[in-house]
Amino acid sequence: MDDRHILDEVKKEPTYANHCRALERIQAADYKLPGPGRRVGLLSNFTVDPIVTCLRVQSYLNVFPMDLYVGRYNEYAQEILDEGSGLHSFAPDIVLMILMPESVMPGVIGEPWQDSGMRRRLVDEGLERLTGLAGALRKRSKATILISNLVVHELSPLGVLEWQEAMGIDRAIQEFNHRLGDWVQTQERIHILDLAGVCAAFGRERAFDPRMRLLADQPFATSFLPRLATEILRYLQATTGPSRKCLVLDLDNTLWGGILGEDGLEGLRLGGDAVGVAYREFQKSILALQRRGILLALCSRNDEPEAMKVIENHPEMVLRPDHFAAVRVNWGDKVSNIKSLAEELNIGLDSFVFVDDDPFERQNVRERLPEVLVVDLPDDPVFYRSTLLNLSVFDALHVSAEDRARGRMYLERRGHEKLRAEAASLEEYLKSLEMEIKIVLPEGVARTRLFQMVHKTNQFNLTTPRYSEAEFEALAKADDHQVFGVSVRDRLGDSGIVGLVVLGMDQDRCQIQTFLLSCRVLGRSIETAILAHVLEKAREARAARIIGRYIPTQKNGIVRDLYQRHGFQLVNRDEKAEIWEACLSGFRLEAPPWARVRNS
């Protein structure tokens, strides 16, 4: 049987029964997703097996390879504190803690006669215990930690009295959740999984089943389990940041109602009536994504000047010309337009999400560019917004200042292209940019950005390592390693942090373990400037040789000849990697005068 068909039934009808059946079939066929899985440890204080069944199937449905360790029943504290526990020997990349309130705050629900003062104490003590455990876990593990907030498994037993009391039961849980949220704000590597929000969205009365709770210590209703697993998986996927970078948008009947060429600017539906307002709301959620660092591109069959006039002048437009990193408004084929967008923006087709109301266009793109994620817009524009919000590919657990500024940076790049066209020679152009290249230390937000680059940079990336957050943190602190970032600013704008280098110092050898650079700044000899800086560092460390590695991937062909171009000698090559070397005595590597690194 073809492995993919194993999932057809559960994809069509995601019931719990179909999840159980799918998992049996997956195991019987020994079906495995390609690639190494993320190692996920799951800790809880109730029976999680039914959630695990759904979670495993969901990981196949979402092509998210995962190795799962399920902690012993209600022994989450022991799993965390005992360094020899199953959890720690599993060495997870992510630890997920899903807890029900009773063991965090004993009696808070089970003894509804308690008074407000008692509940307040329970909140204080519960927070102290849980944050203490989470802190202990971070110290003992390199994993990214996801803690669920708390949810009451029924409507408040206090009834109408709930909010008449100083500290009702619901309120105690909410207080706990708020304070846990505040605490996480100040913590690295610890994030909240909003279980309370997921249950509320499904409906608290529908999400729980007291029979299951009392028979098996599993509080959730069967019909809720698939949804719960889907939401949990979103968080797991989000630990490495958004998996797609660019949203490609159609105009007619997508960003506004009607067809510009037939209805004219005045005839478009945008704002005003219910459907018009729905288009506006859709645009607002798109703008929110843009502000988080997702690039927007237009791809529409229209006359460009007419379309741009609407985008610039229509009073109800939310998205304006400056929000788009690239524009393809013409009568050409959308497939070639998307390909040329990929070239202009310098990102792979597998970073694109395509949104178009026309099923024909969608099918065309889906068939000819299978790497592009094609969104099926519903017929009623009122549901465009929720369709977009339900996409998990843009999920992230943190948004850096760099992310927030990305749209602007691409806009500045559009300025660069223009300036380049005006400058007589490339050298003259590069000089005219007045570039400032600075070294950035891996601290605070800079480290967050550098860590994101490790996972997002595919093209200019010599060795493509995918460090976990904790591994990266440890490298940044290690004495025998030097980790630094590179930021670039020029006359047209600030590109922010664009590069990362990790050097390993080993006696007389300086090894370039990681060298990556954002494609936004290629073609300006910045890589040469960085290598010259590495040379300086190596001399400071009294190294005799610099060693660089090139590990070919499907995407990094762009750096195949990097070391060769810079005078390194090839000393070894096998099917996995090439080793390049340069002896420091007499070795010269000079960056052009317009690209020189400054220590900041």
């Binding site: 019931t15 719990y16 029964a17 159980c20 059946r21 049996e24 195991q27 019987a28 029976t47 097996d49 039914p50 069944t53 029979r211 299951m212 009392l214 028979l215 098996a216 599993q218 069967t222 019909s223």
Partner: protein
């Protein structure tokens, strides 16, 4: 009955031929207390019925399940 048996087999992950009217909790060993709950969940979802907590606990074998389902008006083929 055949459909019910194959549902039980699929959920427990055992051969369909190993499930008959007499099959029940503890025999085969894979039908443990947790599997029992999962099985009930699957059966409720599939046949659109709801069992009471005591009914769930008192199910001794597949034919008990069939009887209960018939009492609740579900059709067994």
């Amino acid at each position: 009955m055949k459909r019910l048996c194959s549902l039980v087999a699929e959920t427990l992950g055992i051969e369909a031929s190993a499930v008959g009217p007499e099959t029940g909790p503890g025999n085969p060993p894979k039908w443990d207390s947790l599997a029992h709950i999962q099985l009930v969940a699957v059966i409720e979802e599939t046949y659109g019925v709801q069992m009471s907590t005591d009914e769930i606990v008192n199910l001794q074998c597949v034919s008990d399940i069939a009887t209960l389902l018939q009492e609740k008006g579900a059709s067994i083929d």
